[in-house]
Chain length 380, copies 2
């Protein structure tokens, strides 16, 4: 068992030249957000007739009041913040979820749109586009075998288009309420992979992000379901897992992949960690690298054949060999106990795995860290 | 000269089965927006302590006040609206640009994020993802010859991945302040092309959306420039136009294109219409289809060689042959007069072109219509 240390990616300093340009064109009395030199952040909102403006988000444990200036602009400067990506929203006179109109940058998580800012340095720089070669992102539609086309996102590394080489593949799965866009938007997958690969800290690889919620064929706004409000829907009845070999086959047919177990990884967060556990044990010839990020271990629908005989199937999987079985969770995660129970099961059976325990709970902050740590261990 | 008639795409009724599902999961007392059966729209905002809530957007010529209900929810039901995509924002007690937190759908235009809704029927259905085969969208990085990688978006039609055929290419350029994402977000390019191709009204084609603002290498958030606030920046000094053959060459090298003039089209809106005019006359062997959408005709920087000798270059272009030279503008567009002046120039020289005049001004509503009309004329 290892603990995730705050090992800082020192090398990233070499590729970060431009974060000082943040807010380059917008520094005036109503600019927001402004990342200050001491890594505090100033948030501002023009609300001339409001009686109360409060900021909430993952930069603070408690909602923070803003103070009204004479010109009708409300303002808050935080304490210096650790390097990270933070989301925030305002509450104005009891009206919730007010966006910052001075900040054009929003990210959607399930049904919520949130403004964000990034504090530079270590992790924040890793989540920021840098002056490095960028991979390509393709949104494609595939039928994995059930006669219904579903959308997925495929990241190909920077040298893919101009080389003839073949690449290993990481399949990266979202959680309940998420979709094929989640790892890109809030997970910062493209920035993390571009930067790790540019630093030589991760192997160039293809990353495939599926839509694991069988009720929908695509992220909100891309399917023929109209403008429904995204909600916490999931899929834990074996359907998605059973289709997975069809997805792998499609990827192997359409991309220059290395079509072998030792060149395939699968990982997912929460429900996606559950899917990862099930898919990797059900199809033990497919994946040599397995990552359970805050996995919802014991949550499958009852009476599903794919979820039965878990111990025998795990034994078969570990007998066939797994290069890396990586389990990560935050010490405050509501799924901590069932992860501990699962580890006890693995320990008792004598299966080798790597365990990483971080601070915090069931948060994107942790999942970005887990992706970073896991990606650096793959295909070495 | 032809006028764009409100010719309604009757065939689209065949592919629209699911717009009734709009708001399927969100119909309650605070749902917003709700498209009613009579094609009016109800907007709602929970603002318990506000004294005034106003909705503004392109669904109304005047800002519309909402009315407070006893439960603190403000409400407005519009008159029945023509089928279209509409954007809107609220103003609450003098605070501008308030988003609708019940609506997860936003689109960015330059630096503004706006909520939107779609009224079904004719045009609205064309801008909505339908149950048809979808093309793929790739965000790729290319160096067109100046040593700097720039991001672009490439649409490949639904059958691209599983066929071996070669396709014609439409290059589609944004306006000032726009970027390679603009035609997708506000222009609904992917929905329009998917639906037109599915109906047999447009040939399957590749569509390439470049970033024509040389100061930036990518849309905000994707380059190494930090989180700058998008603004109305442009590029009309000949640099972008001069690079264009390098872009065409890259596309021809990396996609299964038909590498001939008769299988290439170029079109753009506003500044992109200017770029289209310049590129097509400067490189008359490249494009057989040319579309100027509300083009900023006489706006180039002075003293740029590429912008000089226009009449001789146009003569050369028309002497070499142009399958379609298509000019469209709204009767209220602030660029109407310079388009009239340009047409007079073409008339005097006796060059054949097609002219489409629509209602309205310099708006995305018109550009979506122009793309639709232009796409149906290509590669026949």
């Amino acid at each position: 068992m290892t603990r995730i240390l705050a090992t800082l990616l020192m090398a990233i300093a070499a590729i970060t030249s431009t974060t000082a340009q943040q807010n380059l064109w917008q520094k005036d009395a109503t600019s927001s957000p402004v990342v200050n030199d001491d890594h505090s952040v100033t948030l501002r909102l023009y609300a001339p007739n409001a009686e109360s403006v409060i900021a909430e988000g993952d930069f603070t444990s408690e909602p923070q009041p803003l103070t009204r200036r004479d010109d009708g602009v409300w303002e808050l400067t935080t304490a210096p913040l650790p390097s990270e990506l933070y989301t925030y929203r305002f509450m104005v006179d009891g009206m919730r979820d007010v966006h910052d109109p001075a900040n054009s940058y929003l990210m959607r998580d399930v049904g919520s749109q949130m403004n964000y800012f990034i504090i530079p340095g270590e992790r924040g720089d890793l989540y920021t586009p840098q002056h490095v070669a960028h991979g390509s992102l393709s949104r494609v539609w595939t039928d994995a075998g059930d006669g219904r086309e579903r959308r997925m996102v495929v990241y190909t590394p920077a040298d893919y288009e101009d080389s003839r080489r073949k690449y290993p593949v990481l399949y990266l799965l979202h959680g309940m309420g998420g979709d094929e866009e989640a790892w890109l938007a809030t997970g910062r997958m493209a920035e993390i992979m571009d930067n790790l690969i540019a630093m030589g800290k991760a192997e160039p690889m293809i990353v495939v992000m599926t839509n694991g919620c069988m009720r929908h064929t695509a992220a909100p706004g891309y399917s023929d379901e109209g403008m429904w409000r995204p909600y916490m829907s999931g899929s834990m009845d074996g359907t998605f897992e059973a289709l997975f070999p069809g997805i792998v086959e499609w990827v192997d047919d359409h991309y220059r992949t290395i079509k072998r177990k030792e060149a395939r990884a699968i990982a997912g967060l929460s429900m996606g960690g559950f899917h990862t556990l099930q898919i990797s044990k059900e199809f033990p010839t497919l994946f040599d690298y397995v990552g359970l990020f805050s996995a919802a271990i014991f949550r499958g629908k009852e009476g599903v054949a794919l979820y039965e005989d878990t111990e025998a199937k795990l034994q078969h999987q570990f007998d066939m060999g797994v290069a890396l079985y990586w389990i990560a969770i935050g010490c405050d995660d509501f799924l901590y106990d069932e992860n501990a129970r699962y580890r006890a099961m693995l320990d008792e059976a004598g299966y080798a795995y790597t365990y990483c325990e971080s601070e915090g709970g069931h948060t994107w902050r942790n999942w970005r860290i887990y992706l970073t740590e896991f990606a650096m261990l793959l295909f070495k």
